[in-house]
């Protein structure tokens, strides 16, 4: 595994260097992995990287890019847009010469149409936001402030919002909220992987059996 970077298009026509983890031995099968988003991204990162190690052992190259504004990115999350993220994932797929793309949870919302796609436990954007809004309501209540999800959602559409530490811009929120995963992908439901999804965990965790199961499914679909 090697940390690397890739040129990510910016809305103004320039590019930024974004970080990625890569298992690259110039092999025939090359999988771009779009990580889970926001808090789920933290909880699933170790699992995702463990799956990449299994894929490497199974003869498949894989690449885990940061979306601009996420993880190690120097770009402000607040300035990101949905077309920008779609352009970013297309650019990452081309830069790494991907033959397939895997979306993990919210990452499924951004799998480029030009690559054969696999979706692991895809989720609607509205479900991700519902949970983040609820977390905000709960933490505000702990701090003695009463808020409601309805009012917060209106505020988000009007002027953007900070949810669980993630600063989402107005345009991003409005365009993100209606996104649903495309139906053309090969669907990998949690039931096929076994156990309960690690995104449910309060703390980041790992599960060797689930890692093996997902890597095996991916290997069969990509190289089998």
């Amino acid at each position: 595994m090697r940390p690397t970077s890739w040129p990510c298009p910016l809305p103004d026509g320039g590019t930024s260097r974004e970080y990625a983890l890569a298992f690259d031995r110039q092999r025939r099968h090359r999988l771009l992995i779009l990580p889970a988003l926001f808090d789920e991204g933290n909880r699933l990162r170790r699992f995702t990287v463990e799956v990449m190690r299994r894929l490497d052992a199974a003869g498949i190259d894989s690449f885990l890019p940061d979306l601009p504004g996420c993880n190690e990115s120097l770009q402000p999350l607040q300035a990101q847009t949905i077309p920008g993220w779609l352009a970013a994932t297309i650019a990452a797929g081309r830069h790494f010469g991907a033959t397939h793309v895997l979306g993990v949870r919210g990452g499924c919302l951004f799998t480029p149409a030009e690559l054969p796609a696999l979706h692991y436990a895809p989720v609607k954007a509205a479900s991700i936001l519902r949970q983040m809004l609820r977390a905000r309501v709960l933490s505000s209540r702990e701090a003695g402030r009463e808020e409601t999800r309805e009012v917060l959602a209106e505020q988000a559409q009007a002027s953007g919002i900070n949810l669980a530490g993630y600063e989402l811009g107005r345009d991003f929120y409005s365009h993100f909220e209606p996104l649903v995963p495309e139906s053309g992908a090969i669907l990998i439901e949690q039931g096929k992987v076994g156990g309960s999804g690690l995104w449910l965990r309060a703390e980041p965790d790992e599960d060797a059996a689930q890692t093996d199961a997902l890597a095996t499914i991916l290997t069969v679909e990509i190289a089998g």
Partner: protein, 87 residues
């Protein structure tokens, strides 16, 4: 149905807290949850409630969520049973 809710609730807590199989069997009505378990922060509670909605087929409104219902296993179970009875 009460038993069923109890089982489902223990299973959701097992998934959210990453408990070992059977560990949630030791929970009783007084077992402390929110405010007692450091890993059960607001994001984890939000996930827990959303998962309960999906698995118990209930809708939980913001104003129904209070400290008492989240503080102990017994409080959360009583809430879940009441929600299912009205659904």
């Amino acid at each position: 149905m009460s038993n069923d809710t109890d089982q489902l609730l223990r299973r959701v807590l097992t998934d959210v807290l990453g408990l070992k199989p059977g560990q949630a069997d030791g929970f009783n009505a007084d077992t402390g949850l929110f405010g007692h378990l450091p890993e059960l922060d607001s994001m984890a509670v939000a996930g827990l409630l959303t998962e309960l909605e999906d698995r118990l087929d209930i809708v939980i409104e913001d104003d129904e969520i209070d400290g008492e219902m989240l503080e102990t296993y017994g409080g959360l179970l009583a809430f879940a049973e009441a929600k299912r009875a009205e659904a």
